[in-house]
Amino acid sequence: MRRDWSLWAMLAATIFLLPLFVKSPYYFSVLIFIAIYGMIVLGLTMLMGYAGQISLGHAAFFGLGAYFSSILTLHLHLNPWLAMLMGLVATVLIAFLLGIPTLKLHGHYLAMATLGLGIVLQIIFKEEVELTGGPTGLTGIPALTAFGITFSNDRTFYFLAWIFMLALLGLSINLVHSRTGRALRAISQSQVAAGTLGIPVNRLKLSVFALSAGYASIAGSLYAHYLAFVNPTPFGFLVSVKLVAMVVIGGSASLWGALLGTTLLVSLPEFLTRLQDYEMVIYGAILILVMMFAPRGLTGIAGKIFELLHGLTRGKNAQAA
């Protein structure tokens, strides 16, 4: 618990100090995307790693947040913060309702149901042209403002995005170390056993599902205000798969895994532009290899390295004694 909070503090410090060394808006934009996708992946990690449920349709909740924010600010001229809040509430509610029948399923069936939901939602984004602008999308989404600052360039938006990310991270750390968090972990080991311990399995699963949808919705709203443009492309099946990849590669058992996985998979394509054509092949290969040889992802590897080092020092001490 203390470890997580100190890591959190060090991350916060890094985030705030970084702009002293980094100047180019391009790097800020990469960092912004890491924050935005990081929020979704954080929620997904709690769902997949801690509650043991899989979702192959999370990009749709990302989209719901983005579209709610865009439509409410553009068509109804609502205050962007209010729109974000309303979008959050709406998305969480939708996730809750959809979750009731969906989370009764397990394994492949759950995966396919979430996949189906994601695809249907994306089709709705594409087809309801009057509302969503259809495939062409919506432009001119107003910027977020607060305390007199307009968050319209990369430097300022960087701070906004990471403040949200740090907040959600803090919330997650709290959750994971609470009774609820331990209950979740029990569920991921065995739903039946957890049930016999008196844990309200269904209610908890639903809550985490809705919560992770909420994280995605916030990320979506930020995304819409950042780009000032939305269209259905970033909210499809392939993105949902990439999100799962970020969870898995980072390591689904750790919140920090979410951050690691996202950082890796968002920045990798940026500095491998020469290998653009090979991106898909590399992605697929990484997924397979990680699942085969490091199923607990990068944090799993980091953990193992630790155990090794720890074991070595322990051994030395034992001998000395």
Binding site: H108, A111, G116, V120, I123, I286, M292
Partner: protein
């Protein structure tokens, strides 16, 4: 166009597409039966069938039947390699692990196809003439008939295989109870290998059948695979007749809804049907009731 001609037209298209979904769904079912794995890469084998055939036919002097046989053979080999390299070596795989491995496999195969063959759409020659036949006022192309008869043939052959050959019976034994099958001396590993190969072959066959109608390119596999999966779920995972029925039902409903309801939402039909099945009768139409869902 009179209403009955319109209806028959929609049905003709629907059954053709449905036949392809049926073959893809069968591919899922076969692997699921012997391994309880859902192979998300199934759609890519459909793509490979069409693409390899198109590539072979571009070589001078290659007759159609040879291209078809070779394409199926290559796809089968790739399916076997995939199983050997990615599925077999995994110890104690969890459901999530396997799902992600097969998804990774599908992305890998798709990416490789893009590098090898480029991003263009490729046409494939129809097996026979392209002159459509007119049945009760609806136009049906000979290729559609090839698709329907090809699928029917595959289903019948599969049935005979499962009923009357030793390997087929061994596969069925694995589906009922793996441990018991092992105790009977059936090599479960070999059965798994065989299922992957057979699924790949079926998928490739489907891809070749449909390519003259829809063209083929490196990314056709994704949607076909997903819709085939919807069909398999509809029929009940693990049920061969269910897979075929599921494919036909979904293909037909898709076509009818595009014609009578809304063409924009056509793609959603298969997934909505799947969601309904999952919510109200997860085991599917012919699924085993004891299915742990």
């Amino acid at each position: 166009m009179e209403w009955h001609s319109q209806l028959i037209q929609y049905l003709a298209t629907g059954i053709t597409t449905g036949a392809i979904y049926a073959l893809v769904a069968l591919g899922f079912t076969i692997i699921y039966n012997s391994t309880e794995i859902i192979n998300f890469a199934q759609g890519e084998f459909v793509m490979l069938g069409g693409m390899i055939a198109a590539g072979l036919l571009a070589m001078a002097g290659m007759p159609m039947w040879a291209a078809i046989m070779l394409a199926i053979a290559f796809a089968t080999i790739i399916g076997i390699i995939f199983e050997q390299l990615s599925i077999r070596p995994v110890k104690n795989p969890s459901v999530m692990n396997l799902i992600i491995i097969t998804i990774g496999g599908s992305i890998l195969i798709k990416g490789a196809a893009m590098i090898i063959w480029g991003k263009d759409d490729r046409p494939l020659r129809s097996f026979s003439s392209s002159q459509p036949l007119h049945i009760f006022g609806a136009a049906v192309t000979p290729q559609s008939l090839w698709v329907m008869t090809g699928t029917l043939l595959a289903v019948i052959l599969l049935h005979f295989f499962y009923e009357y050959t030793i390997t087929g019976k061994a596969l069925r034994a694995c589906a009922y109870n793996r441990k018991a099958a092992k105790l009977c001396g059936i090599s479960v590993e070999r059965m798994v290998l065989f299922s992957f190969g057979l699924s790949a072959a079926l998928g490739a066959f489907a891809g070749i059948l449909i390519a003259p109608i829809t063209f083929t390119s490196y990314d056709v596999g994704t949607m076909l695979g997903l819709k085939g999966f919807c069909a398999a779920i509809f029929g009940g995972l693990g049920s061969n007749p269910g897979a075929v029925l599921g494919g036909l039902v979904i293909g037909t409903l898709e076509s009818l809804s595009a014609g009578y309801v809304s063409s924009g939402y056509k793609d959603a039909v298969a997934f909505l049907i799947m969601l309904l099945v999952l919510y109200f009768r997860p085991a599917g139409i012919f699924g085993k009731r004891t299915e742990k869902v």
